[in-house]
Symmetry: D2
Subunit: 343 residues, 4 copies
């Protein structure tokens, strides 16, 4: 009954096997391994983007910060949601990699950026000429930190506002697979067809040991990205072990199978929670994260049964939690959690 985070799950056996297979003999280092050639083509096919530049890094923070640094000058802004991962959970990595760009926080319910608020924030920015920071880029997150999902239309609306102001668009897809499963959209629909220029395509939260792809649909700044990656210490010499994981992830739709299980378990858990008296959900459950609230006392009952999750602040008399399901969550975990909660 582990619901603390999808980054605490094991990896599926296919990933271990892929590492073992990739381990044979010598391989050229620094991304010149044949596995990377295959991964590049698989991702280009998947995104229907035959020209895309594709790179692998090991953490989501890296994928985001390097992509943003390539899209945003030091004296510019990144427009992002108030509670975006890049704003709250990366210890200032975007500021570090951009050499001090400013994150402009844009509000919106349930983790989704409000289009009107985005437009206003863009309008306000740079209006003071040389005295203020200048407009840089937009970063949208899918799945959001609130566990909600942006549809391609919603992304297109936000990206359209940015592009109308001349700004490139980044998608933080640490849970891209969960968003794809939730919406039924294709990767192309969710990204470049909706106006996205660069994607952090997550693998780690959905079953890899630590692999994320960064995809630029326009390869114009690919070389700059490569230099930034190396300079940041993120170019792996034994790169084949990143490639192997990503190849296994994409092969036979494994990435979608994994995300489907995570989302399914979240849906079951949401259904079960909703049926319990006194239990409410702060945000719509659209992917694999839930924010339930219940009456005081349940934390103790749950922890007594070994449930692991992060408690959240709640009003007096109530308790709240963040629950995350993953590819390895089993129905029995959900049932056990609900039973413990029921008391």
């Amino acid at each position: 009954m582990f619901f603390a985070s999808d980054n605490s799950s094991p990896v599926p056996p296919q990933v271990i096997e892929a590492l073992a297979v990739a381990n044979a003999g010598y391989a050229m280092p620094y991304g010149r391994d044949p596995g990377m050639d295959r991964v590049r083509e698989m991702i280009r096919d998947l995104f229907e983007a035959p020209e895309a530049a594709v790179y692998l890094v090991a953490t989501g923070t890296t994928a985001n910060a390097l992509a943003l640094a390539t899209m945003c000058q030091p004296w510019q802004t990144v427009f992002c949601h108030t509670h975006a991962h890049i704003a709250e959970d990366e210890c200032g990595a975007p500021e570090f990699y951009t050499n001090g760009a400013k994150l402009v926080l844009v509000g919106g319910d349930h983790g989704r950026m409000d289009p009107t608020a985005l437009r206003e924030a863009i309008d306000r920015t740079g209006a003071g000429g040389v005295h203020g920071v200048q407009r840089g880029c937009l970063s949208v997150t899918n799945v959001t930190e609130a566990g909600t999902v942006h549809t391609p239309d919603r992304i297109a609306e936000l990206a359209g506002i940015a592009r109308a102001a001349g700004l490139p668009v980044h998608l933080d897809g640490a849970r891209f697979a969960n968003a794809i499963v939730a919406t039924g959209a294709t990767p192309a629909e969710m990204t470049w067809r909706a106006g996205v220029d660069a994607v952090s395509f997550g693998g780690t939260k959905n079953g890899l040991m630590g692999v994320e792809a960064v995809i630029f649909f326009d390869p114009a700044r690919a070389w700059e990205f490569e230099l930034r990656r190396k300079r940041g210490g993120h170019l792996f010499s034994k790169h084949r072990y990143l490639s192997a994981q990503m190849e296994a992830y994409l092969a036979d739709g494994l990435w979608l199978h994994l995300a489907r299980q995570a989302n399914l378990m979240a849906a079951w858990l949401a259904e079960g929670l909703s049926a319990l008296p006194g239990v409410t959900l702060r945000h719509p459950v659209e992917a694999n994260i839930l924010f339930p609230e219940w009456d005081e006392g349940a934390h103790a009952r749950l922890q007594a049964t070994g449930a692991v999750y992060y408690p959240f602040p709640a009003p007096p008399g109530r308790e709240a939690a963040r629950l995350v399901t993953s590819w390895s969550t089993r129905a029995a975990d959900v049932d056990g959690f609900l039973a413990a909660l029921r008391g």
Copy 2:
């Protein structure tokens, strides 16, 4: 017959097995996995340093750049060898992580820093008061880029010069295991007993997929390091897979077995090369890197047999190469190479 680099070798089966074992169930993320607790203690024991702060990162560039940033202010210098990895092969990562510290290049034969040159460089630095950059720290490399080894006494001599000027000392130990095997020194003798404050303890070049430890003997700046690591994107959520590799590396002296094989193969190769007429070695072969020079024509012969290595510039009529052995180099590779060279 692969002698291009030790970063192109596979990993030993123990590493794959360790990953499989570590893959069971859930594990706390971000270095709070029990495997990291074991690794920390193993490294403290190995270095006889019960208070040491120990961290894992995935690349050598990261280990070096983060360690240096913790030891050196932006307006200070890093004293290093003219051909140090941090100076020539990291695309400015030390400058990036330190926010612009200056690498002061110190010469010395065969990749080893000359003590007199170091003393002069330190004396010169900061003499202009506020107008020039200030003295920062010393970084020594062992094994050097020339394939030579610093003995503990030599490190102590260099570190002593630095410490007399109040400067902390970093050891880039990307091939630390090879240096230990070459000298017979203990890890403590090679580091803190010789005046070293922080070590990049390499695993990747000696058989891991991508794991390096950073060790601070004085834990005073450990929290700063943790923040810099996160901010740099180098804190792994599924950290257990780093821990598992390092644990397997240290268990039963595997790390020394691997390095012994690499060094042994280099010694055989050096012996064989020396016996060939017209073949010379630019630097003493003390670990697992060789810089042979031979008469024109051998490149073609070697490549025809499938030998892989990096050619080097050479005088007219001659050819040169850099050859690197690793834990996976077999005697047959050495024999085959020598046979092809013999022609």
Copy 3:
């Protein structure tokens, strides 16, 4: 009738004379001029701070950014008002000089930071451990961007909240003189007695060509500041011309005379505006900045008479403006403006 900004005014004749006097003969460069020795002592006396480290720079942005960089690590935050000059008008200079620290915006009416909001912002910051940026320092502005003034008590309240969390306190005193005149407080009461660690003590907006002092009451990080100043290009070789201006500014209370005239003209203007039907003031007028609002049509009338000021956005049917008085504003300017407004 120039009310656009106090940075468009000329300098008083004493400043020109001081430059002429300082121009005799040779003077040691880089702050070693005897004038700087006198300035240092004058400022220490004025602030009753015999140990204070005192430096001169040429712009307010520099004074703020260098002071903040000395007080705040790259992975930390600067707590400041939502509309602080450092947040809106310095093109990211604080982010640049700190190497990417994050400005956390704290709300509050009329340009003054709300103590409760500050406490909440501090409580929120760093709560996520290594994943989020850490608490850095507090920056308070006096006079505020809204033209209001913090009393020493109000500064002490804000500083007390910061210091209880272990955070140092910076005061952006670009209009320090106007705040002193408005409150009747002594410089010591307004700063270190209220818990302030470092001050940007402005001269430029109050009659100098471009001179600001940075004062650290604890000189512990003075040398770091000197290196940062030089590295930022802000150490003047012919420093005597900065010293001479500041000396003239402080001599015989000139700085207070200048600020008194500015505040007096603002008070007269405020009184006149308040007496006009349909004219309102958005913020209390406590120093030398006014934010009046009036019925549509007045802009045209005012501009026809040659009045210069910045219009501000206003609701339909209304117009708004920012008016700034300075030492060189004459009563006739105020009367002329009011007459034109009256129509």
Copy 4:
């Protein structure tokens, strides 16, 4: 008898007068003063560059560092002379403003970069692909730190090597006027006609209080420069006082008159020194800096007469000095110095 530095001289009366004249009434801030419009046109005329972007800053370090940051990416290099001011005397300002670019030091006699050494340094740089820093720009200094002068031909030779490799060229002209006077070249011949893209056109060392122009012959990156200038704290609100100084400097060839006097005094001093037995000059005296060497004992004699200058290291039995003349050096100073030296 002050020969310590040209930055210790007073300013000529024309500069004080210009400040007094510029002080009348209100002036638009931040470079929108009419004086700046005049200065821009004067500099464009002087350099025969009607499209040039022209900016004023207050220090030479700033002019250099901002120009270089606009010409060089963080992962690139600045090729400069081993003893260039940007390498030795700016406390790492270029590294700070470029966010960590690397200065590659190129040797050459008497402060002039050796063309062959430059070609080799460029060839070496970037050869390692993504692992090493990339070629950025060339920075040449005129007058050099050794007091020698580059002719337009010599600059064209160096610039030609850089441009053949696709690199832009910066000229550090802190003593540009002295170089112009020494060579008789026109400003255009010394800069864009010789392949220079951007110039730091110094005023401070040649008689201004603290004003340098930065000139870009191609205005493409002018807006970036403006943002970097503001973000660095180098945009003056009361900009008219910079403009006024520069205008006075350029009017009626004042800048050349000042430099002529400095160079003339240096030539006389050199002539006098050469005539003395046992006195040698380390570098040709071509502008206003001299590096004499003499027998032990003269320092004491000179200082007894009140001569002020910087002593330099010298071989046993000898003493050395750096002497700098300026616009305010009088023939009597030269005579007095020589008399004291003669003993």
